[in-house]
Symmetry: C2
Subunit: 118 residues, 2 copies
DNA sequence: CGGCATCCTATAGGATACTG
DNA sequence: CAGTATCCTATAGGATGCCG
């Protein structure tokens, strides 16, 4: 996905430059519910490979959306949580969630057999 | 961008399967304000090429988000407007717009010189 | 456990030219 | 005007293996 230049364009493009991408909204949404470690995130989002998960988390970290904490333990333990800035994206994600639920319900009535969870 | 399978996964993934992508949210946002013809859309979103605009509009049409109307005139005239389903995405786009504006304002205070419009 | 490195393929996306 | 068609490059993304 093309990374939009956040220094220009409309306000929606600015948001997209930070949370655009196939996995970022899902990652942020999962982290809205609670702090998660790497393996937990991986299990929560089965469709993402570990490689992509790592890459996207690094970008979210660089953009100040996600806080990464490494605990000095054996076995290693790393957890990810939203920063204040990341939390401020909650209204966007909540709107997306609400729309997805409504859409799936309507599709169900059309016998399209969705299976939606969070 | 990987097209998520809308038949599974969390509710956010369902929404992403319809409006995910670099250009779709921007296109939908522009059409929220008013009906636009192809060239108008192209000018409103300078960063998108005609080719990508066509492709994305076709997908949005196939997903029932956008209504394409061809007028039998010379020169040809085609306009795009949101369907009822497309309009129901407004809360998502409005949340994205609000976040983008706030983010740009804060960046401005950090002297990062954004230039944001709609 | 939480990665990173490497190699590979598929798809997104751009440039340009052409057409009804 | 509103596209198509063609060709091309860049990036997304997957599979696998290794490591502290």
């Amino acid at each position: 996905m093309k990374r939009l230049n956040s220094k220009s364009g409309c306000s929606v493009e600015v948001t997209l430059s930070v949370m655009g991408g196939t996995w970022k909204p899902i990652i942020i949404f999962k982290l809205m519910q609670r702090k998660l470690r790497f393996m937990e995130l991986s299990r929560e989002i089965p469709s993402v490979t570990q490689r992509m998960l790592t890459l996207q988390l690094r970008e979210l970290e660089a953009d100040g959306i996600v806080q990464r904490t490494v605990h000095a333990e054996v076995p290693p333990r790393v957890d990810y949580e939203l920063t204040e800035l990341g939390l401020s994206l909650a209204p966007v994600l909540k709107a997306m969630r609400a729309w997805g639920i409504r859409y799936a319900q309507q599709a169900e009535q059309r016998e399209e057999a969705f299976a939606v969870c969070d």
